[in-house]
Symmetry: D2
Subunit: 346 residues, 4 copies
């Protein structure tokens, strides 16, 4: 390494370089430093340890225990491009050394938020069911039959559980409809929520007072499976639950029970077991809208990951804090129970 240009090390598996870097972004990246490209498979330990001593940035999910950080004295920033912060990094040590650990997860916020709203509208008006009916020749005209429990979102209170990136992307989309927005998020101070012009509430109140509840929270050591029958029961009849973050935060069977009973409608994108078992009861549960974990992973946002990497690398190389990626917060990262997914998606 005779060059003095910053060394940028790649280990993006399971992403591929082509998926997340378009050519303009790749070119910009190369203007910022010397890039050690790697693709296809996880980088070997030997490869990593050859370059880490000079590396200023690492793009990928390589393991970074303290011992390895000790061998990377120039490292300033790590970009997780898979989107789930995993336990193979010593986050506290990174913090002590002033190494940013960043994730490109924010690119999924808008796709998930749009899907969540689309699912809510579909449930409110039974759009997907009416489409199926017409294809089978079973429609009723002018909604005579199937509009009886159609509801307007306009003027209705809505609830949001978990007000992170997706929640903040969703809020402006809800404003034109919602009379009031209730938010439950134990990690955000109620004063901060009030400044976002939402009403901070307990989890129970969120269900009680909202016609639609959007479940957007990550699964943590504290909330796993926490949302069950008693919450669905306290919603107003005809209430809509939209589950698009992680299945782990709900009691999935009780969610399906509540839909089956007709008390609520459930829009579901994430599942306790994926792929969804062939005989899963949800496939036959009425009052549901079902998607197979498709909310975030749409092709047009993949190249945004590369752009976030390059933008924040620019900041860091200027001695400025990163601003576009999500930071792995040493305070909370250990509480998040996400597993590296096998998919390209969120």
């Amino acid at each position: 390494m005779s060059t003095k240009r910053p060394l940028i090390l790649f280990d993006p598996h399971p992403r591929s370089v082509d998926q997340i870097f378009d050519s303009a972004t790749r070119q910009k990246l190369e203007s910022l430093g010397e890039v050690i490209w790697h693709d296809g498979s996880p980088a070997s330990d030997a490869h990593l340890e050859k370059y880490l001593p000079e590396a200023v940035a690492l793009v990928g999910q390589s393991s970074l225990p303290k011992e390895r950080l000790d061998k990377a004295p120039n490292l300033k920033v790590v970009f997780n491009v898979e989107s789930n912060f995993m336990s193979n990094i010593d986050y506290e040590e990174c913090h002590r050394r002033g190494i940013y650990v960043l994730g490109t997860g924010p690119v999924f916020s808008k796709p998930v938020a749009e899907m969540a709203l689309g699912m809510a509208l579909s449930c409110a008006r039974r759009i997907h069911q009416a489409d199926t009916a017409i294809r089978g020749g079973n429609e009723t005209l002018y909604g005579e039959g199937d509009n009886q429990d159609s509801i307007l979102l306009s003027g209705r209170p809505m609830g949001v559980v978990g007000c992170g990136n997706v929640g903040r992307a969703l809020l402006p989309m809800l404003r034109p409809f919602a009379s009031e927005i209730f938010v439950h998020d134990p990690w955000i101070h109620s004063s901060v929520l009030k400044e976002l012009d939402v009403i901070p509430v307990s989890l129970e109140e969120c269900f009680q007072r909202s016609s639609v509840v959007f479940l957007l929270a990550a699964t943590t050591t504290e909330n796993a499976g926490a949302i069950g029958a008693e919450y669905f029961a306290c919603m107003p009849k005809g209430g809509i639950v939209v589950l698009v973050s992680r299945a782990g935060i709900v009691n999935f069977d009780e969610l399906l029970d509540a839909a089956e009973s007709g008390h609520i409608r459930a829009a579901i994108d994430v599942w306790p077991e994926e792929p969804i078992p062939a005989g899963h009861r949800a496939r036959r549960t009425p009052n549901t809208l079902l998607q197979a974990h498709r909310a975030g992973n749409i092709p047009e946002i993949w190249p945004l990951m590369g752009q976030l990497v390059v933008d924040d690398l620019e900041q860091v190389l200027k001695g400025l804090p990163p601003q576009r990626c999500q930071r792995a917060l040493w305070e909370t990262v250990s509480k998040i129970r996400s597993k590296p997914s096998e998919q390209k998606g969120q």
Copy 2:
């Protein structure tokens, strides 16, 4: 009629009183004047002509040719509660006499706008198709297969054809998404559209420049069948057309052709013939989302019609202009080709 209280005459067929007046509104109405209730069937000529001489307000769609207006010297306001202004009224004569002819159509604006957005989101993300797939056990996980042409609405230009009540209800719902909103409406001056913060364009430009086009215009003597193949062809591939006002403004077969070809996706709520013929090809056309004229007619907005009637009657009785109902504009009413629908709906 010894009373001096204003006489309010009812002839609401095909609506029923119960459908559009809740008890609070009915009570308020009765506080405003002497109500001659009538329900169930159209009022007879004899009934109408008995009360018209004293009537200050008429709630219904009774015929009002000039000769009958001559017999109604106290009439100040007519409320059409069916929603389509028909040709059985002499609008110019009403104008000359200072009789307002009002319609309760604005109550349908929000339901139609919400449905239109829901249909657009469903098409953009193939929500309805993915739901069908999962029920049939044919889903692909993480959108691997069926997300390939999913698009975000955020950041995309959108088009609106016809910027009346529905268009104005839809605009705020589009703002959180749209980069630019193009509007074609030959009845609204381009300066007025600019003040609404939209970009006035020709019909052709509206299709060329928009990723989603919402068709919200009434059928008129000038636009019937005007939107055909050449407009769909000039949309970007994957463009979405949402038809929720009247089927008469498009060439319906060419719309289906464009969807079938895969060039566009079509979300359709209104049909050239209703009920939809059993063997209609649309039932088998891919890249469509189909609804059976259900966008406007949801039960929760029915009582709003009564509220609009009472609010504007209050205004008129105070010598103030009505503000909530839509006015039948003598300038344009004769150009609108709407037929009284047989339904209770829009």
Copy 3:
């Protein structure tokens, strides 16, 4: 008149053509019809009566009693470019004949609204007084002395009396600040106000509940002098009253008394007598911000009047309703007590 082009008759005094028509607008006007230009002084009766029989549009404030309307069978639209609808027109006869009587007053809405907000902020923070202090060498640093009663607008309730053009221009400017906006306007139905997302209140409540009250109503036969001591007294101490429409709606002396007492601050742009008498006590009244009827009349909006005229003339010639000017409402125009002003201004 051998031409068949629409005849457009001018009588704009006290405005001049140059003031309100820039060259592009003038050119556009001439493309719409045959213009009979007149300028400088009021047009003579002879001149008017020569052209009225053919005239389709009249731009000016000429008298139009019924007898003269009888001689103007082709007249479709009258544009008042002075801004006050006066009693020299038979409005009901115009209505009967389908002649629009329009005013270009809306061009003043934004200047007045901006001035009103600027005056409110100046009073809230005593900006004008602090500027005077520093010029006289009497300032106190860091607001030690003069910030004691400075108030934030953010988070405070605000009131609007009269929600016409100016009020509607002001509302979006208040949104970033106001927690709640109270509106009193007896001509607008409370349901309509609610749809504007404001809270309809009585005049008394408007003063009681607002930290700042904007007086934007026209003087009418019903409200002249109506706002006096009891209203100012019920404001919270330190409340701000901004008077920018017409002095006639307040008891001016009681307004000054309330400011002098220190209970409220008064921002005043309009006066019972104009020019303001040399010895007027207001010139020495503390807790006031004084302007000499300057809120609306700024040069950059003058050419907008011509543009409104041309835009609406285009509409009318196409058989469409005008959309940019304000209509003289036959229902309420007779109640408005505005006098033709001698100025070029509002």
Copy 4:
């Protein structure tokens, strides 16, 4: 220290406890831990060193060099309540130890933003000058004389230099007016600015393209005195410069020259030397609006400082990141040239 409750150490000079803690907030603070109150004068070293070993939080601006941090093993958070981050703290060592250094500066954002808008409106319409004129009997009615160069903010492009807390508080207040908002901030990535829906520009472009430029940047080692004659010269004639952050970012004499020449109008709240020297030329410079560093320091926001302290202390004690105060960023804090002010104000 027999108690296990978190120890909260106070050293708030030059603030006093009463100024920034109302009784409810004080009570809440005491519910969170054992408070060692101190007031009036700076705490002595002996006092600090007695309590620091147990202290979890420090409220004040005490010196915290590395040696002292070594003696404070339980310290988790330091609250600067004066608002300027000074060089008496070893920020990097605090970062390494996971000690948050926070400031209550955000409470000043809204007062400064409101004042900035008020000053801009006053300059645009010469409100302060017209008030002075009327008090001296020199007014001209209807703005005949003094409105000639009055400008509307509506529809005009505006510029913001420095998009920190004040800038972000100002943006929503500018939206109802500005056609476009240009922002220059070298510390914020252009992609982030675009997401705020503003246009990132160079400093020069910011002046060239804006009718009003708000100077909101802190003085740094890089920008001191950087904004001079060439920038003011490239504004459009009649442009308005609003200086409310720190005088150090402009060449003050050249700013006054530009106002004196009539090319721009200058609204000034901060001064190179404070108190302002008696004979300072600005006191006689035309086309200016002058304030004596009063924008931020209004009494009603003082108790918010205490609320920010308590809210973020709650977060930190729960193991969550602080969210309401501003963090001293170790990346940039050393570049900021702010001196501890002698005032209670900003």
